[in-house]
Amino acid sequence: MLFYTPEFLVFSLVLLAILGVVHKSEPRKLVLLVASYIFYMWWNPAFILLIVFSTVVDYFVGGKLAAEENLTKRRLLLLASMVSNLGLLFFFKYAGLFTDSLLGIMQMLGYEPSWVSLNITLPVGISFYTFQTMSYTIDIYRKEIPATKKPLDFALFVAFFPQLVAGPIVRAATFLPQLDKDVRLSCDQRTFFLIMRGLAKKVLIADNLAVFIDPVFSAPGDWPSIIIWLATIAFAIQIYCDFSGYSDIAIGIARILGFTLPLNFNHPYSARNPSDFWRRWHISLSSWLRDYLYISLGGNRDGAIATYRNLMLTMLLGGLWHGASWNFVVWGFLHGAILVGHRLYTSYRRKLNPDWRPGNSVIGYAISLFLMQYFVLITWITFRITDFADMNTAVWKFVLFDFNFDIAGLGLGGMSFFSTLVLMGLFTIFTVFSQRRGHVENYLGTLSLPKASAVCVAAGFTFFYLWPLKQAPFIYFQF
């Protein structure tokens, strides 16, 4: 069930009506859990069994871990949780990739294996909820949180529908305590406009940009560098609006239901260096990778070489988390390389001058911003194009600019080229505005009712006219 569909509207209205009359805490949680399961089963009922399995395993492992003091047994319990969660993730998400890759290698070596490639349906959101349940078990293992004794609370933590299929990835430490308070419905004007903003980002910007991006990246060899550049920038905007739009809606719906979800994006395209970027992009994933993978690998505790290795491994696996395709590994590798490169540069500068800090001059800011975003754009090409030959072509056209600005007669008219430029311009204006003045919903949240209603009339009018004929699902659903 997608947030912008009529069935979700009906689902929400029914849920709100029920929650409006169910006032006791435990029944309300039960209603939310059933609603979350229905939300998930709308897509494929059978896969709810995976969520239930994950829930049962981690609830019991968590309980046992909290009661167990023997280190070996604790490790075995943790291992059981990791194997079951990662086993599910590997089977459903990566088994096809690895069998296909093995098949390819064997065929290259002249063997013709008798098995055929696996074609397994990917359960929506599996990468998100497995990470969420794993964080619970690891936190208990690290004795950072107690195990919950309420199976209903834990089941709702795993399956809470606003963020179930595309995040933000929530930690038990922040979500479970919220269930101890009285859960009550509430909506302020800012939350209302936050949801509207998320919907606008997804539908009005991301989906409309796809019309231009898809044909360019399906045959990058046909286009001059300027078009590859524009398509890459458009994709950077598309994926941000698609994903952060989902997060906005998820955070807004959760707030109405009485829950606070973590911030997932914070102006990532204003990042000046790779560490800064990962503090702003998909924050719930990058902090998860930092806390549960990078630190588990040793973090920066074992010297420079080990730190670089850990960074690279974290980013490679973080890349692979995004999808069962080698281009995501390339994407992770490039981000790992730039993180390592940035650390090397920083430590070199600090070796020369221990008091060195990145400059805050306008020119310094502009240069570091440009370099970082130039690199981010290159990585988006590797993220978007799965075919390695096409990826290579697009990256080279992006890097080695051909200075061919003669774009008349390329057939761009059928790809909504000019309106794409207008949309990109509007996005830039809104981004700069929100960075300087605060998010638009903060402003709209303070308007008087007549003014807010006028904004809503205009929004309804705009939604009607700019809602694309072809609706695409959220990009991060496939992860």
């Binding site: 800012r190 008349a408 007669g409 008219g413 207008v422 903060n442 949240g445 904004v455 009339v457």
Partner: protein, 341 residues
């Protein structure tokens, strides 16, 4: 949501939430009500559809013959030149439009005034190898400009395309209004392009009833190569095979002409000589043979122009240059005259 924002946002009671949601719905309702007016007012690439429909239905225009086809015909046939060769120099209209496929042409047939005694249908050969319906957007443009298929046309659509027309014909008026929102975005594209492409004369392309050419500049060799590849993408190296639906469609068009007492002329549109390297070697000969056989079977005039124009008379991989258009028009005029028009 900013974590540092400390402003106190008052909670909305249910009545205010309903008011805000109601306001959004109001905006949507206003947009729906204004859709037909907005659609007709804004410039889009399908504005020519309105010109064609208005011309055919106004009663002010009384052409003797009409020519239908896609942008190759817009760019390649000047009916004033054709008329020079015809007895009594009758008025003929070029009613082609961008991407006009066989069904789109056929939909206009019901609107033809009684003055029309000859329908000249130009067919792009590769369309014979595709089971093409008119796309949703184009049909929507026709609908929004007032077109409604009559019972005979509807029946023809189902006979040719079996169940596919349901996607177009089965939609309500409100649904068509909803679909018409594509025009809002295209308005931006059309408006900006009109300013940027100084080499194109788009007003003529939209309004001219004789030679609606947009006259673009000739392509560079590198661009031409890409254009040729793109133009032949759907038939690349495939042997010629006529699909059932285009064959049924052309037959229905010929039958319509016969039934309404009109003459039907079939013309194969010219192809760029260099596109042959991306085609099956026998594609052109086989397509031509099919046209000839169809014409013989139906006792109609067929004019072959597939290989008529040399490469230097094209501006790109598809469209004739101005000089090419004049040469092509004279050739077709001569052939029509010889055919007794």
């Amino acid at each position: 949501m900013s974590q540092t924002d400390s402003t106190n946002y008052p909670e909305l009671p249910a009545s205010k939430i309903l008011m805000l949601v109601g306001s959004i719905l109001l905006g949507i309702v206003v947009a729906i009500l204004l859709a037909p007016t907005v659609f007709k007012a804004v410039p889009t690439d399908l504005a020519r559809t309105n010109v064609l429909l208005t011309t055919l239905s106004s009663g002010e225009h009384q052409p003797k013959y009409v020519v239908f086809g896609n942008s190759v015909v817009m760019q390649g046939i000047d009916t004033r030149i054709l008329s020079e060769y015809l007895q009594g120099q009758p008025t003929g209209y070029n009613l082609s439009s961008t991407g006009q496929n066989l069904l789109e042409s056929a939909l206009y047939y019901q609107e033809l005034p009684d003055s029309v005694d000859t329908i000249v249908q130009v067919v792009y050969p590769k369309l014979l190898m595709a089971a093409e319906m008119i796309n949703l957007q184009k049909y929507n443009a026709m609908y929004m400009f007032g077109y409604r298929p009559d019972e005979e046309t509807r029946q023809m659509m189902y006979e040719v395309y079996v169940s596919k027309p349901e996607n177009l014909l089965g939609r309500s008026t409100v649904d068509q209004y909803f679909i018409s929102r594509w025009a809002a975005r295209q308005t931006i594209d059309t408006a900006v392009r009109n300013r940027v492409r100084s080499d194109m004369t788009l007003d003529a392309a939209r309004n001219d009833l004789f030679f609606p050419s947009s006259r673009g500049d000739a392509m560079t060799p590198a661009k031409l190569e890409l254009d040729l590849i793109r133009a032949s993408a759907t038939i690349r190296e495939k042997p010629f095979t006529i699909y059932q639906s285009p064959e049924r469609q052309i037959q229905a068009m010929a039958d319509f002409a016969k039934r309404t007492g009109r003459r039907f002329v079939l013309i194969s549109s010219p192809l760029h000589p260099e596109a042959q390297k991306y085609e099956d070697p026998a594609f052109r000969a086989d397509a031509n043979a099919w046209f000839k056989e169809f014409a013989r079977r139906n006792d109609i005039l067929y004019i072959d122009t597939i290989n008529y124009l040399p490469a230097d008379l094209f501006i790109d991989g598809l469209h004739p240059s101005e000089q090419g258009a004049e040469i092509l028009s004279r050739h077709i005029g001569e052939q029509l005259a010889q055919g007794g028009l």
